[in-house]
Amino acid sequence: MSVLVLAEHNDQAFLSSTFNVIEAASKINDDIHLLICGSKIENLANEGKNILALKKVITCDNEGLNNVIAEKISPIILSIAKNYTHILAPATTYGKNILPRVAALLDISQISDVIGIENPQTFIRPIYAGNAIAHVQSPQTLNLITIRPTAFERCETMGGEALIENIPYIETPSQTRFINREVTKSDRPDLSNAKIVISGGRGLENADNFKLIYELADKLKAAVGASRAAVDSGYIGNEHQVGQTGKMVAPDLYIAIGISGAIQHLAGMKDSKVIVAINKDVEAPIFKIADYGLSGDLFQVIPELMAELDLLNKIES
């Protein structure tokens, strides 16, 4: 048994998803190789060999792999696929774009967005937007799997001694031309992808008070969300609405402030890793699903929070 992990990176550094996928790989087997496709990736290779769980780092370094074009990367993976029993990629737009191409050419049924691994042949994945969980079994001799990064911890990035191996680039006819990438440059990330979301509800009482949410979000480099009630009352625009009829989010941390926790709102954020609720009503339904609940006046709590976060930053630096 042998597992190949497709690294996600920006040529300078690994994206954190790579570490989650390696962690997932270690649940399958300990013979794990990391494939890095890119241009001028020597530094990355050196970083990769330190990752504890890896036995080998495989690089394909070529200008042609400068920008991530699925049609160019899939032949590279294909060229070494037969050496493995499992090939893992992150279930990010990167991995989702590339891996199925490999699956098609190998005539393999890919398993997408895996959130748990029971054994090397049995995987757990969400269906119907996570409203049902499927346990699937694949007897295929090679399994292609995309891994949901947030479902696994980060692997240990130091202490490893992996070998580095280069493999040749494979030229492909050009049907796709990369023009450019517009990266969202904002300290305030997109709500759908943010790692931390601060949401405000009716408890904020008016649109002006929502600036407290924005300030707290800035401190934590978080996205700003809102309950339907806040949106309907005009406190904030509906692009911030989290819930059954708004956006579904699954950040690492979701802080719900002044939100009662009607089931419609919960439907939009129940997959968050950690939920914090701040509400002056101890009976608010949101406390039934919050990992950490703080009963108090949000107009006092938020300034306190910001002060504590400042203190924390001071201590850290």
């Binding site: 191409r101 098609a104 049924s109 499927a134 346990h135 079994q137 796709t176 023009i179 941390l253 703080l294």
Partner: protein, 249 residues
């Protein structure tokens, strides 16, 4: 330019699905079924291309049992010219779907195939990419903008970091994001007209494709319900927990 649109009949996105008590799957009996939402965006885009004079003919194709005819009628009521049902009572994996689509593509010879980026039932997000590889055509996945000029496709696609702009040659496969357009309503007169539009049914068996599933679903269960955690006494404690226990800040 001929445009082919793949359409899937799925449980309506507004339905609260229920997991069957025998864990064999999700309850679909007596449940509202509709066009997969991103497929609506694909349909809308195809119709827009026809209205712009870029597409000469639009065809919708669906793979499923007889009831899938209704999503094809909906597509035609929105404005698609004709449709094809590849009939099967089996549940097909994305790979098999892609093979069936390949067969239809080889027959119909479209210049552009549009699909929704993922089906809201199985959430696999594979079919467009699989088809693209099988045909060796370029793929543009999760597109939110499309321009066609000089037989080149200029697309903007939604990626985690933002937007990526690519240029593809034709023929190509595009999978559509919800942000691509606003699907139109099918008006009553158009629904009437659609009843007369051609809907061809082909039996999947005639295509000679092996559609045996390679993956077995052992069980389908409800997601674990979140339980209440703890109440913290003050902000200090909250920060401590978030930093050192949960490790999320």
């Amino acid at each position: 330019m001929k445009v082919l649109v793949a359409v899937k009949r799925v449980v309506d996105y507004k339905v609260q699905i229920r997991v069957k008590s025998d864990q064999s799957g999700v309850e679909t009996q007596n449940v509202k079924m509709s066009v997969n939402p991103p497929d609506e965006n694909a349909i809308e885009q195809a119709i827009k291309l026809k209205e712009q004079g870029v597409a000469s003919e639009t065809i919708a194709v669906s793979i499923g049992d007889d009831k899938s005819q209704d999503v094809l009628r909906t597509a035609m009521a929105m404005g698609i010219d004709r449709s094809i049902l590849a009939k099967t009572d089996q549940l097909l994996e994305p790979l098999a779907v892609a093979k069936v689509l390949k067969s239809i593509v080889e027959n119909e010879k479209p210049d552009l195939v549009l699909l929704g980026k993922q089906a809201i039932d199985d959430d696999a997000n594979q079919t467009g990419q699989l088809l693209s590889a099988l045909l060796n055509w370029p793929q543009g996945c999760f597109i939110s903008k499309l321009k066609i000029e000089n037989n080149l496709l200029s697309i903007s696609r939604e990626i985690d970091e933002g937007i990526e702009n690519l240029e593809l040659t034709i023929p190509a496969i595009l999978t559509c994001d919800l942000r691509l357009n606003t699907p139109r309503f099918a008006s009553l007169p158009n629904i009437m007209k659609a009843k007369k539009k051609p809907l061809d049914v082909i039996d999947i068996g005639e295509l000679g494709i092996d559609t045996t599933p390679k993956i077995k679903t052992i069980k389908v269960i409800e997601p674990p319900t979140r339980k209440a955690g703890i109440m913290v006494s003050d902000v200090k404690e909250l920060i401590q927990k978030l930093k050192y226990e949960a490790k999320v800040i």
